[in-house]
């Protein structure tokens, strides 16, 4: 019904993707239904499993955005320090880099 789109080297067909998605969905729901049935809503099973000890209030256990991907940030620390320093917010850098790009492209094109 949707037809397939020739993308230069292969095809993108929404219909076959949908078929695959439904198939995968059916398999996963079947697999999930084999699990234990004794889950009851609203009981203490709903509590977050905090490896046994008592649950602090919701402020401490939320993962703030600035600490997500901290490993990625720490691993690439030298790269990120330079990159963040590059975005220094100085108006001179805004204008300066614009002129540097024009000059660079000018030199490349004229030579």
């Amino acid at each position: 019904m949707f037809g397939s789109l020739f993308t230069g080297f292969g095809y993108w067909d929404f219909g076959s993707w949908l078929l695959f998605f439904i198939l995968a969905g059916a398999m996963t729901t079947w697999l999930r239904s084999q699990g234990r049935q004794d889950y009851k809503k609203g009981t203490e099973q709903d509590q977050i499993y905090f490896s046994g000890n008592e649950l602090p209030d919701s402020e401490e256990i939320t993962v703030p955005a600035s600490s997500s991907y901290w490993g990625f940030r720490k691993a690439l620390k030298p790269y990120y320090d330079k990159l963040v320093a590059f975005h220094s917010g100085q108006t001179v850098t805004y204008v300066g880099w614009f002129l540097v790009t024009t000059a660079l492209l000018m030199v490349l094109i004229i030579l």
């Binding site: 975005h87 220094s88 917010g89 100085q90 108006t91 001179v92 204008v95 300066g96 002129l99």
Partner: protein, 114 residues
């Protein structure tokens, strides 16, 4: 000798650019932008000049056959109108920046970074 005005346009444009980069005071930067805009306008008008050409109105100058090109003058008119609008807005922004940051030094206006 003929393209001396173009040299003047180039120097004027460079002076405007250097003023924008080298200056720290906001008003001097606004003046630098103004200088650059007038350089661009001058470039347009000088493009239209023809040797010994007269003003491009058919009736006024009498029996002259060489006219200066009228289109760049019309372009410059619009460019001047735009230059007025942008400099009015830039000066108002500078007034508000001074109101919020208490300084006219460009280097200190750096809350947005990183």
């Amino acid at each position: 000798m003929a393209n001396l005005p173009f040299v003047v346009v180039g120097l004027l444009f460079l002076m405007g650019l250097i003023a924008i980069i080298a200056e720290n005071n906001l008003f001097k930067i606004a003046i630098g932008v103004g200088v650059m805009e007038s350089a661009a306008n001058m470039f347009l008008v000088v493009l239209g000049y023809r040797l010994k050409g007269d003003i491009p109105v058919k009736f006024l100058p009498g029996p002259v056959d060489v006219y200066v090109l009228p289109t760049p003058q019309a372009l410059t008119l619009t460019a001047i109108v735009i230059a007025l609008a942008t400099s009015a807005l830039m000066l108002s922004l500078i007034v508000m920046l001074y109101r919020h940051y208490g300084t006219l030094d460009v280097r200190e206006i750096r809350r947005l970074r990183g």
